[in-house]
């Protein structure tokens, strides 16, 4: 789960990281009020779960409160990478002597959280990693001992020659690590970490991604979810216990298991079609989930055919069949349905579907080919 910058700032501040003042605003009037309270120049920043908001015009400097309101009025409602901006953060414009990057991410290769820093902060760190990897310094943290002071100071001395500033930055790294485990973050970044002309070290921007698996045990963090900042179909899917990602094709896919779901999409493309979505109904096979899945898929006007691909293990094929039948009783599908089911309770599922007027296949390739054909055939460039 992505947090907004203003939420990440609040968390980091709570863990002792120095962060400039500021507040979130949902209207130009609120933005003006925050700017007035802060006084002086402010920055108005779009709060949206998408990178590149600066390039999209979502970050603006304002000389006074009126300008802040004007910027807010332009930024609020703006669409960045398909997501609408509903909130802006208004903060004082800081004087900056230098900009660094500090981030912690769990690294699959070392199986540890890795602390990364670079004196080349303030810009796209992936760009730095790709072009000048020697400018990124890192240390794998042994979580049995936590981030050790000398590790933090060793990295901080790569950012600041002044040992006082380095100790300040090392302290921030220690707090960042503590925050990471305390809130269950799979990624935390401060970019930029700035030194002000008078030598203070401050976190000017913060990014935090929470591991979804942490949310059950951290209700206070789960409560930070901002559904208005996500695509409505994905919110709907999550609430139904489904994993759904909208794509651009015409073959709606409903599959059990992420790997099989990806392989199904790949096979749709292999046979010349284009998947309209990724949708994993998960291990359990509550018929209501199937109904919810069909409701989400059919809401997409680009879908021309729907493909079910179920390999029953924990998932019971009869549950899926019942879900399909219930859905068609509740709302019209408008598009053809190709159903492939095999495994646990397959015979019962076929009986249920046949009774309701559907036919069912057992071969995956055959089902995908039929679905592609029903969706209007190959879109060009297919393999078969």
């Amino acid at each position: 789960m992505n947090l907004h910058e203003y939420q990440a700032r609040d968390i980091l501040r709570r863990y002792g990281i120095p962060i400039p003042d500021g507040d979130v605003a949902e209207s130009p009037a609120e933005a003006r009020a925050v700017a007035q309270r802060l006084g002086g120049k402010v920055v108005v920043k779009a709060q949206v779960h998408a990178g590149g908001r600066g390039k999209a015009g979502g970050v603006q400097l304002a000389a006074n409160a009126d300008e802040a309101a004007a910027h807010a009025s332009r930024i609020l409602g703006m669409t960045i990478k398909g997501l609408t901006v509903h909130k802006v953060l208004v903060t004082p414009a800081a004087d900056i002597a230098s900009e660094s990057y500090v981030g912690i991410i769990v690294d699959r290769a070392s199986q540890r959280p890795v602390l990364m820093v670079s004196a080349a902060g303030g810009i796209d760190i992936e760009e730095v990693a790709a072009t000048t990897p020697e400018r990124i310094h890192r240390v794998a943290i042994d979580p049995r001992y936590g981030l050790l002071s000398h590790q933090a100071l060793g990295l901080a001395l790569r950012l600041y020659r002044d040992v006082g500033q380095a100790r300040g930055a090392a302290g921030i790294m220690g707090n960042l690590y503590a925050a990471c485990y305390a809130v269950g973050a799979s990624l935390v970044e401060i970019n930029p970490l700035v030194a002000t002309p008078d030598g203070k070290i401050l976190a000017l921007d913060a990014k935090m991604v929470i591991d979804d698996n942490e949310l059950d045990r951290r209700p206070e963090i789960a409560a930070l979810r901002d559904a208005s900042a996500e695509a409505p179909s994905e919110v709907q899917a999550r609430e139904a216990g489904l994993t759904f990602i909208k794509l651009d094709g015409s073959v709606g896919c409903c599959v059990n298991g992420a790997g099989l779901a990806m392989a199904t999409m790949d096979l749709v493309q292999y046979y010349g079609g284009a998947p309209a979505n990724f949708l994993d109904i998960g291990g359990s096979s509550n018929p209501q989930k199937v109904v919810a899945a069909l409701r989400i898929i059919t809401a997409d006007p680009h879908v021309k055919a729907i493909l079910f691909n179920i390999f029953g293990g924990i998932t019971r094929c009869d549950d899926v069949a019942n879900g399909i039948v219930q859905a068609t009783q509740q709302f019209p599908l408008h598009v053809p349905l190709v159903i492939r089911l095999t495994g646990t309770n397959e015979a019962e599922a076929v009986r249920i579907l046949t009774a309701a007027g559907f036919s069912a296949l057992t071969d995956m390739d055959e089902a995908v080919q039929q679905a592609v054909a029903q969706a209007g055939g190959a879109v060009g460039g297919g393999a078969a």
């Binding site: 699959r108 959280p113 790997g259 392989a263 999409m265 994993d280 390999f311 293990g313 495994g343």
Partner: protein, 289 residues
């Protein structure tokens, strides 16, 4: 023969009285797995289905039953704790089916296992099966047939699909291992490949990867350097858009190294036959054997 489990596997089920645990314990017993003990705190002293003794703690169960492997079906909130308990009791093989363990918990669980020399399979995995010998986890027994092809996969149902293809086309399996789709897992492709290479009753290996991470590239390197047996590979997620999650936390594309194209190229360079679709597995195996 087989890898990791065989007829000598004496299995302990953590969470045996739960909904999933009881269902799959019956499936495993039905398949012929020697389930010697169950653990559910507070239910020690009972018999599960009148046959399997239930204990309060893993330590008690191991002491009384000489269990040598554990499978975990407990809820996500207590799954990491269950892994610690199994390792602390000295079990050498721990299979964690449970999905949803926070990755930061795993950063501590893995060194704990490593210090004790315990092998964890999973978490968030379907477990493993050595057909006609032992089944530990949830892989449907009826799709498997005994034979000489090893299968290792990051996926669940996609594994079933490919095993189904193998069985349908006459290729039995020595062991099928689902290593799980989480970012941090206990057993990697390389561990399984190494075990299959050493197993005299495995002739070839089918490896099923997906987008995200670099496990497949490391596996390819291992195959190029250390394997003499033929390997057939598949990567799911060729159509996945970059930067989006595809259900598995593991399937986040990190730079170009996590893409399907990059992984398939690494496979090809290492001499791994690359499937374009699940149905390719039998024809490719036939070519290589």
């Amino acid at each position: 023969m087989s890898i990791f489990i065989d007829q000598g596997t004496r299995l302990l089920v953590q969470g045996i009285t739960g909904r999933d645990g009881s269902f799959h314990t019956r499936q495993m017993i039905g398949y012929g797995t020697k389930v010697v003990a169950g653990v559910t705190p507070g239910k020690g002293g009972r018999l599960f289905d009148g046959v399997v003794p239930v204990f309060d703690t893993v330590a008690d169960a191991v002491r009384d039953t000489r269990a040598n492997a554990a499978v975990i079906y407990v809820p996500a909130a207590v799954a990491a704790s269950a892994v610690y308990e199994a390792a602390d009791a000295g079990l050498g093989l721990i299979v964690c089916i449970t999905e949803g363990i926070p990755v930061l918990d795993m950063t501590k669980v893995l060194p704990y296992l490593h210090e004790r020399g315990a092998r964890l399979i999973g978490p968030n995995c379907p477990g493993l099966i050595s057909p006609a010998q032992s089944k530990v986890g949830i892989i449907p027994g009826n799709i498997c047939t005994p034979g000489r092809v090893g299968v290792v996969s990051r996926s669940g149902t996609l594994t079933y699909e490919i095993v189904h293809q193998l069985s349908t086309h006459g290729f039995g399996q020595s062991t099928c291992v689902g290593i799980g789709g989480d970012p941090l897992i206990g057993t990697h492709f390389t561990h399984c490949l190494s075990a299959f290479q050493a197993d005299p009753e495995t002739d070839a290996v089918v490896m099923i990867g997906e987008i995200g991470g670099t496990d497949e590239q490391q596996a390819a390197e291992f195959v190029a350097k250390g394997m003499t047996k033929p390997v057939i590979g598949f990567i799911a997620g060729q159509t996945a858009p970059p930067g989006r999650r595809m259900g598995h936390a593991g399937a986040i594309i990190s730079g170009s190294s996590g893409t399907a194209a990059e992984k398939m190229a690494a496979f090809a360079r290492a001499g791994i036959s690359v499937m374009k679709r699940p149905a390719d597995v039998a024809p490719l195996l036939r070519e290589r054997l």
